[in-house]
Amino acid sequence: MTSTPPHPTHTRPAERHDPLPDGADHGGEEAVLLLRLAGPLQSWGDRSVFNRRETRPEPTKSGVLGLLAAAEGRAREDRLDDLTQLRLGIRVDQPGTLLRDYHTVSDYRGRPLLQAGVSAKGRQKPTSPAKNTHITIRYYLQDAVFVAALAGPAPLLRTLDTAVRHPAYPLALGRRSCPPTQPVSLGLRDTSDLRQALEAEPWQAARHVRNEQGRRNSYPTHVDLSATIEDPDGDDVRHDVPQSFHPRSRSYTSRRVRHLWIPTPTGFTTPTNNDQPRQPSAGHDPFALLGW
């Protein structure tokens, strides 16, 4: 055995269930499905529990796969193996800002809230001393735009593309209260390389954001957008790969990711002197002016 760290998405048993009729050995035909995740509010929690619900600055794999599963009309108990094998890349087109939602919960009848412990009958006991109000804090991203790229078998992605355009259940950006703006699906690309697909996709930020940025930077033809791409050799780990969304047995594994900057076409065609990619500073060379 080699000493390489186990990679959950790659050490899956070979006899995994695959619901696709053509199976996993479909001759290597791969594609990339691009999704535009934009909306007034998004919330992508990965480890939050109890009263404090945080959001990641980028969509999580469980959030994106949950959206796809909802579009296909899968029940929570259904298997996800075919979805988790998809590789995910996220490009941050517009980072948005953080919203902190102060939220209180109480019983409308004025009764004390229930505690976690249960009585002998298996019923939740009321809090003692009586606690009438829970304070919960929920975090959202407001006004953010992401492009999510999913790479995997083309037939599966084609099904998902159709499903996202005609979803069985309402779609949500990480939380039920966060509906996406349309269009969600940007369609399929004939490549298996996440980075390549993201590089070719135009900047999806709102027009006023693009214009503001363009005005400040004299309308460059490309902007560098930060991205996170799934990569077995990546240097960071995300613990957000769902094994199952079953209400009684939710579990997650981790995946390796890599962070990078993706030069993205802005769509500005104004000729400027800023077209060449930015050079790193060459330092201070006093000899440059001495004819050398």
Binding site: R278, H284, F287, G291, W292
Partner: protein
């Protein structure tokens, strides 16, 4: 004639460790490369450690210098390439004209002179007290500016006198609601200069006492307003502690920016 030299320093050698650590030792090594008597000319030098593993020593001299001793003791004498580049400075001086813009770098020793320090050291207090008792005028104490803000202010206050200005920097508009109000708005706009390094040197001099220097390295843009005053400062240095690696103003072409 004026010459600008650049010497590669090998930081792993014993002699270079002493030179890099002690401005007084470096001053001695630099003075050793000049044929004239110590007072025959103003020599300016600066140690650039952009890459701390490959420091470069820049020296501006009036006469043609020889840096064999530094290369032999603190360089790579057997290596290929230019151990010590020595170039005529005239092409640069010919470019000095009103309105020209350059990138600059300057390591300086910002100080203020005061005869009434807030908190004098025992030595300073004794000196001021002795002068007061004897009823004679004493020279003000040179007190180093020790905060980045004061050091930057020191530079910006004096650039006009030295024959150049530092143009205002391009600043993106603040987020809505964060625009400075009249009370908080600074009268001075931000300038195209920043402090890239600050250091406190303390080294022995003679048998008694130590020299303490607070240096700051400034980098930015400048626009020449008075060619004569500017050339004077270029050749004779800026601020105190010129023997100890301060005051050499070097120019470089402006890189293409998105302004």
């Amino acid at each position: 004639m004026t010459y600008l030299s650049r010497i590669r320093i090998n930081p792993l050698r014993a002699a270079s460790r002493k030179l890099l650590a002690n401005p007084r030792a470096m001053h001695g090594a630099v003075a050793g490369g000049i044929t004239g008597t110590p007072d025959s000319e103003r020599v300016l030098w600066r140690l650039d450690t952009d890459n701390p593993h490959r420091p470069h020593l820049y020296i501006l001299t009036r006469s043609k210098p020889d840096w064999t001793h530094i290369v032999e003791q603190a360089g790579w004498p057997g290596a290929e390439g230019e151990h010590a580049a020595i170039r005529d400075y005239t092409p640069l001086l010919a470019q000095i004209a009103t309105g020209r813009e350059f990138a600059f770098r300057l390591t300086a020793n910002p100080v203020q002179n005061t005869a009434t320090p807030d908190k004098a050291t025992p030595t300073q207090a004794a000196r001021l007290e002795a002068a007061r008792l004897e009823g004679r005028q004493t020279r003000g104490l040179r007190i180093g500016h020790r905060t980045a803000n004061a050091q930057l202010h020191w530079l910006l206050q004096r650039t006009e006198r030295w024959g150049f200005t530092i143009p205002p920097s391009r600043v993106d508009p603040p987020a809505p609601g964060l625009a400075p109000t009249n009370e908080t708005a600074d009268a001075d706009p931000p300038r195209e200069v920043r402090i890239t390094a600050r250091q406190r040197h303390s080294f022995a001099k003679g048998g008694n006492g130590r020299v303490v220097l607070h240096t700051a390295t400034f980098e930015g843009h400048l626009r020449i307003t008075d060619p004569d005053a500017f050339t004077e400062r270029l050749l004779n240095g800026i601020g105190p502690a010129k023997s100890y690696g301060c005051g050499l103003l070097t120019l470089a072409p402006l890189t293409n920016r998105s302004t």
